[in-house]
Symmetry: D2
Subunit: 133 residues, 4 copies
């Protein structure tokens, strides 16, 4: 299932090249993954308290196709592509101004599920089911 | 007139003290000022193109009363307190979870109106009227 | 006593106005305060472990006089102006390219000394003496 | 040739998980690439003025192996692996506390060389020679 999250570009997101600074796309992608969780009823803080689980980026591939600029509205499209014992794979894309607009950035994330001591933690059933839906 | 803008706290906003990093409140305040402009029909990019005007923080006082944490929803309340020839004064406040919730941060901004060469630029009538309303 | 700390401006520090984004000066000032501590033999992590003390910005006044740009070298000059029971006042200034160069930014900080539960914590003698020197 | 660049971890770099926020490694890597340029006599601003050339991240793969924490000293090791007509490939690594210390992060960058209008721009000889050395 796809999750769509709008992000407005503010001054804080840009650099003196006049475009969105590349590192900030990682922030946009994380906001979108967190909101995709929230739509399923999961909050990060509660997951850590209730299930001793947190999510950490294990690896990511990013491709920057076109730049974004101040005041533009971006749409982050998030898709879970694989749920494993203690990791989740995501494909995320950034589109300009419309969900079917120009594609600005592609990302492929592998997120590790860790306990609060940063050791691998299997996904509880309720979570792995919720994420798959 | 008051403008109210919600901000969700994400990982990117926090520091290892477990709270929102102090510098990030300046980002929240700017997002709110920009959105206050937008509700009146003004966009930063167009203002620069059409009127050769941009807004730069000239000075600010910040008071941090209570910390904010991951996943919390903040409300930024923005009020214009004075409009001069080439500057605008704002009072901005951050409330926790509700607009009448606990007050986390107070800010007093003086924003300078500059042209693209960073020299003072008087506010065009249409803007100074719009901001006052 | 004055502490002097150089900061190079990178893309990450700038915005699409072509200048250093105002919130980032708060980062520069904190780096400088931390390094001023370090020159006296204090490290933040150890202070929290050994003395249950951490430092949080209570309030700050910032004045932005002139912009800084990509690749420029800034000098942050840090001076402790008052040490109280559980707070420290600092004056910090940003100079361009030379310690006696153009003044870009003035800041007046009140830093609160808190324990790990974010309650006021009196400065231990060793710290208040060290900071005053 | 290897370029080694030290980075100290400050509060601004961390998140409420107690570790360096993943997006901030992209900032560290860029600082290191810029300083690798600088050791060869090239400054970004001058390259844009003199040669109408700027460098933009085209794609990157990141692997996060172990977390970094407040106050730690990181070493960014930068190696150019390929210089093409209008792009440069880098391998960059983050080590903890020592250049031969624990490996925290691996990165593989493809940097595009663009003119100020964000179109491909062949590397001038002086640059491609300088970068290869």
């Amino acid at each position: 299932m796809l999750h769509i999250f709008p992000v407005r570009v503010y001054y804080e997101d840009t650099d003196c090249g006049g475009i969105v600074y590349h590192a900030n796309y990682l922030k946009f992608f994380e906001r979108a993954r967190v909101e995709a969780f929230r739509t399923k009823g999961f909050e990060l803080n509660k997951l850590l308290c209730d299930y001793d689980i947190q999510f950490v980026v294990h690896s990511v591939q990013l491709e920057f196709l076109q730049p974004a600029r101040l005041d533009q509205l971006l749409y982050i499209v998030t898709k879970v592509t694989e749920v494993r014992f203690a990791s989740i794979k995501y494909t995320q894309k950034v589109y300009l101004e419309e969900v079917e607009g120009p594609l600005l950035c592609n990302a492929y994330f592998r997120i590790a599920c860790l306990n609060r001591d940063y050791r691998p933690r299997g996904l509880p059933d309720i979570l792995s089911k919720g994420i798959r839906q």
